[in-house]
Symmetry: D2
Subunit: 435 residues, 4 copies
């Protein structure tokens, strides 16, 4: 069609509905592997709009779920979604935590298969409850204390819904095939790793995704040359030693707390890498039981990152040496469990160039930011690498919006008009690559 | 009277009642500052037996209570005691956690004031529930899961009750004044520190106390030359830093977890003392919130000990330097809260000699252990030092009994005949010093 | 003149002399603040060629000399230079370690003042003595074992001499003023800091400098867009504690070795900076006296770097906190002495553009490397910042040459034709900016 | 003979000669494995007095010499002794560092074999040179700066010489056999370990040794119940890693200095032992080469002690775990070399009782100290254990004397009359056990 004003008019007309969806999602925020409300809402809508919807084990590989929630949590949040009005038929396949939706729409004309990926999980944060925070002021705050969309995934999901709605209404103009991927557990950097093994991205010629409000703080800004995806790995480490009385026989203990402390100091001391940025953090540590007992157990959570997959690999190897060394020092048994992982990612250069040319023509784009560093990890990188390794092209874009407080902050919020802007770009870019 | 056979006969006659009290106390175990059941039982009995009973703020200084329980806990355990049949008049003065009892009996003849101290709190341990464990087998297990008398303070309390009963029945022979001190929170090493400021030991010429089953594992054994009381101090340390994103701006964080780890390693590395044994332990550590956040808070529990008060003081000073140094290293704020304290203690040599001569004459004593190291801390030391500093004499004895599992173990139990044995010695020693 | 072929012909004619100088310098290598041979050779030649030569305190500020050599070393190397044929009149002003030369030549036509800086000190390395190493094979190895030009500063000095010779022969064409700066102690990152306070760069409109063989390994390569100068600081740290007998009274010691070890681990653990590369290294550590004595002294050498001056400043501040914290931990006195310092540096963009255009026209240039990271520290940055802060322009270039073994390696060597290539570029660029 | 006055008179007559020997030894002080002067003097005298003298490999096992001196040192000190008047025949067998003397005298009557052991090495200390220090004032200071008898082994050797002289003059009264052992390298805790394998103590029924001036600061004091010999072990540890440039590629290094620092902190943090005193010290550490190079080598000297051999063994095992752990942490190769070792020691109780009774009768004894802790290590323990393990009896005594400055201090000195006192006791005790 390529009449951008016309596209925009259609999207603007549908927009109020998207705002409504976003607020329902915000109110019913659920975290990693528990996104039953979002799964149900998406599945129902896309089914209604004519998409072929896949759920449960068809889109999520149960064997590749890292850090699944407890069965109590699963049951609790499943019931929450039902109570909030979700129809059980749309979430029954996801009952064991296999949340997420994949939906396909074939166009009337031949063309490439274009994928769009949106993340649907919330953060485990207590949402701000004051008048400066619009969800509080306007009554769509999260109804579950401790769960809240403080990273904009409710907005991402709404972008996906509005985009899907647009195409279903304009299917006659559609070239090729659309595939919508609504991914659980992006915050856990685990969702992509569970979806990719089911083959859902293997047929994609293009994959588009993005994030609202990172670095770009104004409506109308867009960045396509997004760099500095950190490859990342997360580990849960447990040291087990032997308890003993701290006064009578300290020599008989094997001090897991002390071993953990020695490990931690030396983990941060891993040599910086000459080829680029590396990161390490021990985010939590818990050890010991009582004042007068040599602590026999310590658990900690460790993450490594590297500006390249190789540098992250270097950090992992060095961290392993340190962890083994500290265990040797104090005679401890060690258990390491992978908690999450994401490789580095690179936007396909051709798409950056093509997308930039397109953006120049879009009335909704006010400013193209030539280069923006993500400086964080996003498991879209796993899908991107898969698509690119099979000859496909992938791009992760940033869409500007002011945010009230930073990402993951209790008062995070967006200007909802970013939803329309993102959809306008994605509609146009699909049309362009499928022309 | 000094006819030890006759004394023994009386005590043996009263003994079954003591067993009954012990089992009631065992069943209604309550920990530090929550010993409402024991307080009520003791207060009622001693009042009934003619003692002048003091309670609440008269015997416990509210300003000197370390680590008091929450008001919810206080209310819960207060209600538990009432439900278990305790009369409110005897525990109302203790309602805010001012547990413990002091009771006085004046003899008909003049003589010294002789104090006896018994500790009444239980441990926070889940009691073993199997047939090898007599309280389980015979139906007097603790009725509150997680609270249990696994250090024999139920037995100590029963010794106190039986001793009080004996004297009340034989008051006509009594020289001088008796003062019974039933102390809360010995496990917390906090009860003595709260009772001493009320002046309750200031008038004592003699103070006797003891423990069942430490080192001495046979009925009939006694040790009076008890050495190696560790002076001890416990601290709760909190480091507060500044959170930041571990990938975007690790430089902006002030890492409390890392500071704590650095402190811990260096705390254990405090130089051994040339003059005698020292100890240090960091029993618990909790820090951080999330994988990707530089941890802004760390809390840990630290104890120091020394075979003398001076050596413990050395450990405290060095620990403080290390704690300050680690805070300086990482720009952290530090908060240190005293959790418990006990000085070293020494039995008055004259009493050891006198008591040993006495023990040789007692039919209930099968073996006198010439010297036994406590190798632990006991806050009786605080009362002993107070009495001794004012010219009084004090002795802490050990009474032998097999124990099922060690002290604080889930299957700890005693041979209840140790109750009678202990009372026989204490009756005789009172008579001796008050002769 | 701008006939590059003609310039090249003149330079090629003078070249054999430059090779000769280089080999004399190589044979008479002297390190930081002891470069009497180089100082004397340069001063004599430039005087002979009509330059106005300044020496000693006119070009080096004695109060700003970091880590000066001992008076014995100064005397020894001074005598070495005399024995090697240097005329005393040219090095007498440098006798106390005030080595280095500044020489000025005024052109016949008006024009800007253009500075060229060359470093003259050698490394403290034992030179390889085998046939694969040309200085050994052809008989111009360093004659002082342990001192050797393993970083090419002999080559840099020869470039300076050949350039000076060229201009003196072609003075009639010269616009503006030339200022040659032969700097001591670049390896110590200390020479620029001692020269700048004398004002020698304050009148420069342009400053050019460079290095042979870094990254660029082929004759004919040139890089002008040189990035990633690390800002750097070096410190000598001394901890002083108290000795005591390790068996009798370890508690009385203040353990400087242990304090240093705690500092070191935590220094490496300083958080990486979110804005770019940081570095830290403790290069040497010496502590203690005897097995059975608590060590009362520890000395170590520490360097910090940052890809920007700000990041290096961050590292310095954090290092100071760690050093203070470790001293607090162990009751140590601390002394910190600055050993060297260099800020970050940036080539003036205009010169990069202009120089690149020029390089395209030079027959001696085979390849222009668009961007090359120095990834090291060079105290030319101090002079560059001074010039740039006063409105001048500065550029540090890299000139390609194969090197036998890496920089600072015992077998470092160059293809001497890089001397001519560098001179050809510098002649042309002077002409260009002074046109 | 047992007429103690008569014995004393003889000893007092010989005493001035002993003072002379002591001062010659003091002037010609030589350290561990280099005691050529003492070896020569002793061998010459005892040969002259009729003893059968053994030297070199007959008394020292070359394979068991820990930390031998360099051949340059050996040659230098050998020449020193010759220049000081020692006859080469008496030291030629010791030329390779096999210093020490064993001498035997058989009595006319049958009886047990009684050994006496004296240590002959000096300290590596610069002797005080002021008027308060008698050796300086009276002209018998050590003539080799840096070597000095600051632990009284010159006095011990003189006791041995005077005792040998006494018996040779009074051989007609002698029962049994005497064996004099003059041991090298006591300060290095290495001499006994090299002598015992030659079998020299295997035939002893009794072994006596002692020390002047430890704890006992007055002439006439004696202690026979000497306790608290620390078992001790010394190790030289080398870590080897890989150097790399600290700015360009810190990740390629394996940081031996950092590994050593991590080891050191954790070595001091080895848990105290519940059964008694333990010690650990890292006395020296040297690592690294240059500011900007990741250090590839670290060397340190470590000693462990325990109040029992078992506790020292515990410390060794835990130290090994820590050392291995730190090597694992940083990918280092580790080399551990034993530097010295001594087990714990216990005087044979029977000799304490017997010796105490004897001491009561000696006019030279003014006070018997009932119990004295050595709180240090002495390799006599190795000989004692060997003798005791074969049914013999052994005792290490302390002889009182004021000392000017403590042991190993630059101003250490004794009241030489302690020599006579010690000899009087040793003569009497030999007579007693050989009666």
């Amino acid at each position: 069609m390529a009449n951008y004003e016309e596209q925009a008019a259609i999207i603007d007309r549908l927009f109020p509905e998207a705002v409504n969806w976003r607020r329902q999602l915000h109110r019913n925020a659920q975290p990693s592997w528990l996104e039953f409300y979002a799964t149900g809402l998406i599945a129902e809508k896309l089914t209604e709009w004519g998409y072929t919807v896949s759920l449960g084990k068809d889109v999520v590989d149960a064997d590749n779920i890292l850090m699944p929630p407890s069965s109590e949590k699963l049951e609790e949040q499943y019931q929450w979604a039902l109570a909030a009005g979700i129809k059980e038929e749309f979430i029954a396949p996801a009952k064991n935590g296999l949340t997420g939706v994949v939906a396909v729409l074939k166009g009337n004309q031949p063309g490439p298969t274009v994928g769009f990926r949106f993340d649907i999980d919330c953060n485990e944060v207590i949402e701000a409850n004051d008048k400066d925070h619009r969800p509080a002021r306007e009554g769509f705050m999260s109804e579950q204390r401790g769960y809240a969309h403080m990273c904009g995934h409710d907005v991402h999901t709404s972008i996906g819904l509005l985009l899907a709605r647009y195409f279903s209404e304009n299917r006659s103009y559609l070239n090729g095939t659309l595939k919508f991927i609504f991914q659980p557990s992006e915050e856990g950097l685990a969702g992509a790793a569970a979806m990719v093994p089911t083959g859902i991205v293997d047929d994609l010629d293009y994959l588009f995704s993005g994030h609202v409000g990172i670095t770009l703080q104004e409506i109308g800004q867009i960045a396509l040359n997004v760099t500095d995806f950190y490859a990342m790995s997360r580990f849960k480490v447990t040291y087990r030693g032997r308890p003993s009385h701290a006064a009578l026989c300290p020599d008989e203990g094997k001090n897991a707390l002390l071993g953990a402390c020695s490990a931690v100091t030396n983990l941060y001391a891993i040599a910086r890498h000459g080829d680029g940025a590396s990161r390490i953090n021990v985010g939590t540590l818990e050890a010991g039981t009582a004042w007068n007992v040599i602590p026999d157990q310590a658990r900690f959570r460790l993450e490594t990152r590297g500006i390249s997959t190789e540098i992250n690999q270097y950090m992992i190897e060095k961290a392993n040496e340190v962890l083994k060394g500290a265990a040797t020092m104090y005679g401890l048994e060690m258990e390491i469990e992978l908690g999450a992982a994401a490789p580095g990612g690179v936007n396909t250069p051709e798409l950056i160039v093509m997308g930039t040319d397109l953006a120049r023509q879009l009335p909704s784009v006010k400013e193209i930011i030539p280069s923006a560093g993500l400086n964080a990890s996003e498991d879209i990188s796993l899908m991107m690498r898969r698509v690119q390794s099979q000859g496909g092209k992938a791009m992760f874009a940033l869409f500007g919006t002011p945010v009230g407080g930073g990402h993951h902050n209790a008062a995070f919020d967006v200007d909802e008009s970013v939803i329309g802007n993102a959809v306008k770009f994605l509609v146009a870019v699909q049309e362009l690559v499928a022309r």
